[in-house]
């Protein structure tokens, strides 16, 4: 937005009617200015400057020429003009056996095959071996967002979905890392990833996360993102089990500025495998744009080049979907759809996909939620390539789409859609338990290896801390000393395992050993491998076999129950328990005495208050938290204040507000009655009216205050005189009343309806208000 379009008057504060300078701006724009969304900036589509998601006039047309098994032209470029990316793709990605058939297929047909569940995934991954970057990009560009999500669900490599989380903190505090790693493992992350604020702290971070990650179960893979050579050394020492910082780029100049080539990266990929370490590459739209060498190509085309390169290098997987480029990609039209499309390209090329949802692309929670949803319901090898398991300010990568703050939102999304995002809720007791265990374990290792002696006060502060701002623990400098010692002394994972075992952490020692043992067979180097329940599952032994409804990944009932088990869930028993807590206090405020059948009255000032079956018997508080005794006291006082004579009658034939009100009006001498349910919903009614055509209705019980009940009484008495009062208005502030109260309301109402008796006669009730009725 152009700044000149901003208002020249203070926004949002002008009292209505007082607009002395006559600003000609709808104030809603001022409201919108204040929303987090407006912190996001958006960019105009501009292919020449690299701001184009799916297509650019500078994207090449798909094309391939093979002579004698050799690629002599790729996407319109002759071999002599190939840059190093073209060369690598031509020599190591394009399968000359498959290419002629694959390239001859119309893009529209390939696009339809991607969303046709009759076409097996493997037929499409085979064809991809013969498709060029421009062809691949052109095909997925034909799909709309829903088709991309569906195709992703069909094409992703491993059947069982998973998730990856960041475990970092602003102080590089190893105590907190160990506690947070143990916590992340409990929440179900398949992989955890750390990095550090201070580069030399990498070794301390590695030991702390490896130890914390061994609490509770074994199999969580761990990465310590650091400088390439150091990261490999940390892996060699046995602390980390995977790597994913091997970045590739879609233009030659960006690649060179990234200080690598396809050959150096492919060499590194083999080097990781030779050390038994799982590895994936990193790519994603926007990196070339941020690095200034985009060749005026579309984001999707450049990413298609990156992904062909990755398959050509022989890496098992990728983390893509924007990654660090997600925010800039999301500024262009269709940018978020592009991020989904490049995830689809990754899985079509048969790569494991850690599907972005990493660096937070927006300040708007709505945009964040909308972005995660398609992948959440589609399922993904690792839906986030870095869910912030810690608080946003502790994330040493960058704040993620979801951070520690939003963990429960994600858990609820899983439950809402019965979709497996790889996580499960954990109750408060268990969290404290694993955090304590992680802290004790890392402390034991530090003491046993003579690295440091954490004090009980340090551990206590970390145990309950939500983030590093609340801890009294190691400073980054303390950590550097520990980290240098680990490196200098050549401490390996074996030393750590033995230290754990010696100090009684037998299970953790065995868990850590099991993760390191994975590298002996190398099973976890295959595509999309993670460890579940002590077994390696990957695209090889757990392949995605989606072939239409009822196939592919389905939530098993046990897993569904785990996902559903979020905290503070209401049920009938909890509502009754809650009400019973109020019963005792309420009995000190009011006594209800049944006086027998209620006949029609004849006093023209008489107002009948018709109470519901459970009123004061099973239910004692309104949903706004008012005692029913206090409510009746106010209502009666209101009736009397305007010259009415109140009578309380209990109805059992109905629990419905309208019918309670109409029935009350029917026996009232004045013909005016108030119907009220125990949850606080009320109506003023009049004899002779249709049931749902009342005088006044108060349906928002959760925000109805005692004063409102008093004024209802007053108004009923005024109606009885044949006059028209000011209706009582209960002001709302746009609360999502249904979200907050409907579960409770429905449960309470079910208690009311269960007490109804067909044909039951109304009964007069004498009420006696005691001292305590406020």
């Amino acid at each position: 937005m152009d700044d000149s379009a901003k208002p020249s008057v203070p926004t949002g504060a002008n009292p209505i009617g007082a607009n002395p300078i006559g600003a000609n701006r709808w104030r809603r724009f001022a409201d919108w200015d204040d929303r987090p969304l407006r912190l996001d900036r958006f960019a105009a589509e501009d292919p020449q400057n690299g701001f184009a998601a799916f297509t650019s006039p500078n994207d090449p047309k798909p094309g391939l020429e093979i002579v004698g098994g050799r690629v002599v032209s790729l996407d319109g470029k002759a071999e002599a003009d190939f840059d190093m990316i073209d060369l690598f793709i031509a020599r190591h990605h394009i399968d000359p056996e498959i290419a002629p058939q694959a390239m001859a297929m119309p893009s529209a047909e390939l696009a339809r095959m991607l969303v046709d569940y009759h076409i097996p995934r493997t037929a499409l991954t085979r064809l991809a071996h013969g498709l060029t970057p421009a062809k691949l990009a052109g095909v997925v560009a034909q799909l709309n967002a829903m088709e991309i999500a569906f195709a992703y669900s069909k094409m992703r490599a491993r059947k069982t979905p998973g998730n990856q989380g960041h475990v970092t903190n602003a102080k590089d505090d190893p105590l907190q890392l160990a506690a947070d790693a143990a916590t992340a493992v409990a929440f179900g992350f398949d992989e955890i990833e750390t990095t550090q604020r201070v580069a030399r702290n990498a070794w301390s971070n590695a030991v702390a996360c490896a130890v914390g990650g061994a609490v509770g179960r074994w199999g969580t893979l761990f990465q310590c993102s650091s400088e390439e050579a150091e990261e490999l050394q940390i892996g060699m020492a046995g602390f980390s089990s995977y790597a994913e910082t091997v970045s590739v780029y879609g233009t030659e100049r960006a690649f060179i500025d990234g200080d690598d080539t396809p050959w150096s990266k492919a060499f590194l990929a083999a080097a990781y495998a030779s050390r038994g370490i799982k590895m994936r590459c990193t790519s994603g739209a926007g990196s070339e744009l941020l690095m200034g060498f985009h060749e005026s190509k579309s984001l999707l085309y450049l990413e298609a080049r990156c992904l062909c390169l990755q398959r050509a290098m022989g890496v098992q997987g990728t983390q893509n979907g924007g990654i660090d480029g997600a925010p800039v990609t999301s500024t262009v039209p269709g940018g978020v759809r592009e991020l989904m499309a490049e995830n689809l390209l990754a899985v079509w090329l048969d790569l494991e996909c850690a599907s972005g949802n990493d660096a937070r692309h927006s300040e708007s929670e709505i945009r964040v939620g909308a972005k995660i949803l398609p992948l959440l319901i589609a399922g993904s090898d690792l839906i986030c390539s870095g869910f912030g398991t810690i608080k946003a300010y502790d994330n040493s990568f960058n704040p993620s789409s979801f951070n520690g703050e939003e963990m429960e939102d994600f858990l609820v999304l899983q439950r809402d859609f019965e979709a497996d995002g790889g996580l499960i809720p954990v109750d408060e007791t268990k969290v404290l338990d694993v955090r304590g265990r992680g802290l004790d374990a890392i402390s034991a290792v530090f003491e046993e290896l003579g690295l440091s002696q954490p004090t009980p006060a340090m551990k206590a502060s970390v145990l309950v801390a939500s983030g590093s701002e609340e801890t009294e623990s190691y400073t980054p400098r303390d950590v550097s000393i520990i980290s240098d010692a680990i490196k200098a002394r050549g401490i390996t994972v074996v030393d750590v395992i033995l230290a754990l075992h010696k100090r009684g952490f037998v299970e953790e020692a065995a868990n850590l050993l099991n993760v390191v043992k994975l590298r002996v067979s190398g099973d976890y180097l295959q595509t999309s491998a993670v460890v579940r329940d002590g077994k390696v599952i990957s695209a090889v032994n757990d392949p995605n076999d989606y072939a239409g409804p009822g196939t592919g990944y389905r939530l098993a009932e046990a897993r569904r129950q785990e996902i559903n088990h979020i905290r503070d869930v209401l049920d009938r028993e909890s509502v009754l328990r809650d009400q019973n807590r109020h019963a005792k206090a309420e009995n000190r405020r009011i006594v209800y005495r049944d006086l027998g059948p209620a006949e029609a009255g004849n006093d023209p000032t008489e107002i009948v208050i018709g109470i519901s079956p459970a009123f004061g018997l099973k239910i004692f508080q309104t949903t706004a938290g008012h005692s029913l005794a206090a409510l009746l006291k106010e209502m009666i006082a209101g009736i009397r204040a305007k010259g009415g004579k109140p009578r309380v009658v209990r109805f059992r034939h109905t629990a419905d507000t309208s019918f309670l009100g109409l029935s009350a009006a029917g026996v009232a001498g004045s013909g005016v009655g108030i119907g009220i349910q125990a949850k606080g919903t009320a109506v003023i009614h009049q004899r002779g009216r249709l049931p749902h055509n009342n005088l006044e209705l108060f349906s928002n019980a959760p925000i109805t205050q005692l004063d409102h009940y008093r004024r209802m009484g007053e108004n009923a008495a005024i109606y009885a005189k044949g006059e028209i009062p000011d209706p009582v208005v209960v002001p709302t502030h746009g609360e999502a009343m249904g979200a907050r109260f409907h579960a409770q309301t429905a449960l309470i109402y079910a208690i009311e309806t269960s007490l109804t008796v067909e044909g039951a006669k109304p009964e007069n009730i004498e009420i006696k208000l005691l001292e305590g009725a406020a």
Partner: protein, 143 residues
């Protein structure tokens, strides 16, 4: 030299389905690697490294699963298992843009891999890089 038939997808995971084929670098079966064995010194860090055989077997499985490129990567990796860390890192460094000042440096590295480590595939890969780098002018000074 090979003691098993060509591996199939059904053989995977090897640690579960074909533990008979898995041996550590010092020849121990997987279940001999315990905390107790580390304590007594009968097993060591050496037993926690991947082996050339494991990588070649995983390459066969990758092939069988329709992933030939992944298989090639595992084959290159198999050749690197016994290459010392500093040699690997030097070769990686040499492959980065502008580090080698002439084609001959990469060719020399290729020769070392071929002759000293019997790493034929890695050597060919380095030679290919040398050719491409020359073509694309990557032997230029960068810093």
């Amino acid at each position: 030299m090979k003691k098993h038939d060509h591996l199939k997808v059904a053989d995977y995971p090897l640690s579960e389905n074909r533990p008979d084929l898995i041996r550590t670098r010092t020849g121990k079966p997987l279940d001999a690697i315990t905390v107790e064995a580390l304590q007594s010194g009968t097993a060591s860090m050496d037993d926690l490294r991947i082996t050339k055989d494991s990588l070649l077997m995983q390459a066969e499985i990758a092939e069988a699963a329709g992933r030939p490129r992944l298989g090639s990567n595992f084959e290159r990796a198999a050749e690197m298992v016994d290459v010392p860390q500093d040699v690997l890192l030097q070769a990686y460094e040499l492959l980065r843009p502008g580090r080698a000042k002439a084609k001959s440096e990469l060719l020399e590295a290729a020769a070392t891999f071929r002759n000293t480590y019997k790493a034929e595939r890695v050597a060919a890969f380095l030679e290919e890089a040398a050719e491409v780098y020359e073509r694309r002018g990557l032997f230029q000074f960068r810093y």
